[in-house]
Amino acid sequence: MSKHVTTWRLSAVVAASVALIATTASRAAVEQAQQPSEVALVISGGDAGTPPRYAVPDFVALTPDASEIAKTLGQVLWDDLNFEREFYMIPRDTYGSIPAARTPEQVPFNSWRELGADAVVFGTVQRTGNDVRVQVRLFNVRSRQSVFAKEYSGSANNPRLYAHTISDEIHDQQRGLKGVARTKLAWVSDRDGVRLGDTVENRQVKEIYYGDYDGANQRRVTVGRRLNLNPSWSPDTRALAYTTFRPNPDVFVSLIYQGVLQNPTKGIGTNYLPVFSPDGKQIAFMSGRDGNPEIYAMNVDGTNLRRLTNTQAGDSSPTWSPSGSQIAFTSDRTGKAQIYVMNSADGSGVRRLTVNESEADRPTWSPPPFNEIAYAASTGPGYDIKVLVVSTGEVKQLTFGEGSNEGPAWAPGGRHLAFTSTRAGGRTQVFTIGRDGRGLRQITREGNNQTPAWSN
């Protein structure tokens, strides 16, 4: 069997080549992995209906300077697999009695079986200067066969990306699921503690930040020491749209990997709350250019501008439907903020969606396959995150008064949401949560952080 090598890009940050492992030692395993029958590849739980139990020990460092990376890979991969809750992840602190394997042949299947594992990951890391080579296999503990085997190489700068990639590929292969381990969150933060160079005192600079979906690798996007608000990812994840106050609030599109800044609204009036359409070609936003806050849409370059609402009330927070044909938004046209929907072409067909809320704001339309709108509902002193099923009008509540909870943003695939909460010590922080309200994770801890957006 000849070596079958494919090349593929890990992400815009790190490119790595991926090759199927076909060493002599694991030939049988790889042949197994290349069987056309998918049934044999999927590891199931011991009992029908129970999720398979996965173990992810530390990867093996084949060179001494790779030991830190090896540890990181094991932990991050465990966290990534745990995030989607498709598998029961056996806690890593229970692996102590199991002898560490140096090669695939040494994997102690009996010991893993005793621990109740259905699947175990075996991975190695080799480091040469700033390059790493990562090999990983997923074994079915009962059959002792490798059902997934890959090799990755690239820079050592961001080892977590290898774990994220492995996680996404395991979810894809084992569950047909598009995982989110390589997605990113963007938000607004005042963590720099810099005061605005303004004539009015005590105003904090707020900058746009982004980081990995799990909160690692947080970076600042904007550097202007101004007020920046409400980031929105372009569907290709290469750009962020947001509002910068210079001091006139205007919509900017930052191509974050190219260092290019575009200004489609060109300083005409006040412009806020930009959101990319699902095809990435348009931006909906709120503007006061005609004397009242209304919803507008335009092409990303600012052409084809059209006004979609026309009321005396405030219309704000647009969000596109998955097909792009509709826009949901907030309006207080009946007195209190409620969520409405309209056609994105011309603003026709307006219909109110929230009927039992005292106030509802920041609608965020889920991506396929769900057709749901998450929003912040006034539930007392603060807000809670709720989800409206558009077809039935059914409402589900995800948070229950622990702090004030605002700013919901769907993950691609609609299985998770990001939102902000004051539950952790009073400051506003970004959290993620499953669509069933389980699996809460805190993403930010420094300063106040608000209005998250989740990339594809």
Binding site: N202, L227, T270, N292, G314
Partner: protein, 191 residues
């Protein structure tokens, strides 16, 4: 300190009104004017004595500026601003009677200092979401601008911006704090 600031404002406004009133009736002599003293008496109980008519003098086109104000930097001006904030009721962008009175006084100052350009900032209290408050703040700022325009201040001099609940003036979480944070705030941006 606060009291002194208030006194200065009353002086400025009174002067503005007095001069405006005088304008309607009589031409006022031009020429170098002594800068009005900061501590000038606040009230003029009697109408000023009739001014002697002087021939061939150009009428004053606009109310005279207070040099103690015009000489200030923008930063200093805004720190101790003659333009007072207009406050709003909860979840409302409508000026009430008090708000209109403050806006009227501000309009008087703006007519006196006709070179000034201003930005009216719409601010909200922390109740309501960040997004909703951007719209509400926008409506507050526009409401103040519209009212000033109706009083004769050119809309070309006025920009508006909404800061929503991003920049509270009072960091507290009480009714008092919230009341202070629901405002149309005036910033002098050019002079």
């Amino acid at each position: 300190m606060k009291e002194m600031r208030n006194t200065t404002i009353v002086v400025a406004v009174t002067l503005a009104l007095a001069v405006t009133a005088a304008c309607g009736k009589k031409k006022v002599a031009t020429g170098p004017q002594p800068p009005p003293a900061e501590e000038a008496p606040v009230v003029t109980p009697n109408p000023p004595p009739p001014t002697e008519r002087v021939e061939d003098r150009t009428p004053v086109a606009q109310p005279l500026a207070d040099e103690s104000i015009t000489n200030k930097s923008l930063d200093d001006l805004n720190r101790d601003s003659p333009l007072k904030p207009v406050f709003f009721p909860l979840d409302s962008a409508e000026l009430d009677e008090t708000g209109r009175a403050i806006a009227q006084a501000n309009a008087g100052v703006l007519k006196k200092y006709s070179a000034w350009g201003i930005t009216i900032e719409g601010h909200c209290d922390e109740r309501g979401t960040a997004e909703y408050n951007l719209a509400l703040g926008e409506r507050r700022a526009v409401a103040v601008k519209t009212y000033l325009s109706s009083l004769g201040v050119s809309p070309d001099r006025i920009r508006t911006v909404s800061y929503g609940k991003e920049f509270p003036f009072d960091m507290g979480h009480s009714e008092d704090a919230w009341a202070k944070n629901r405002r149309g705030h005036f910033v002098i941006t050019s002079k």
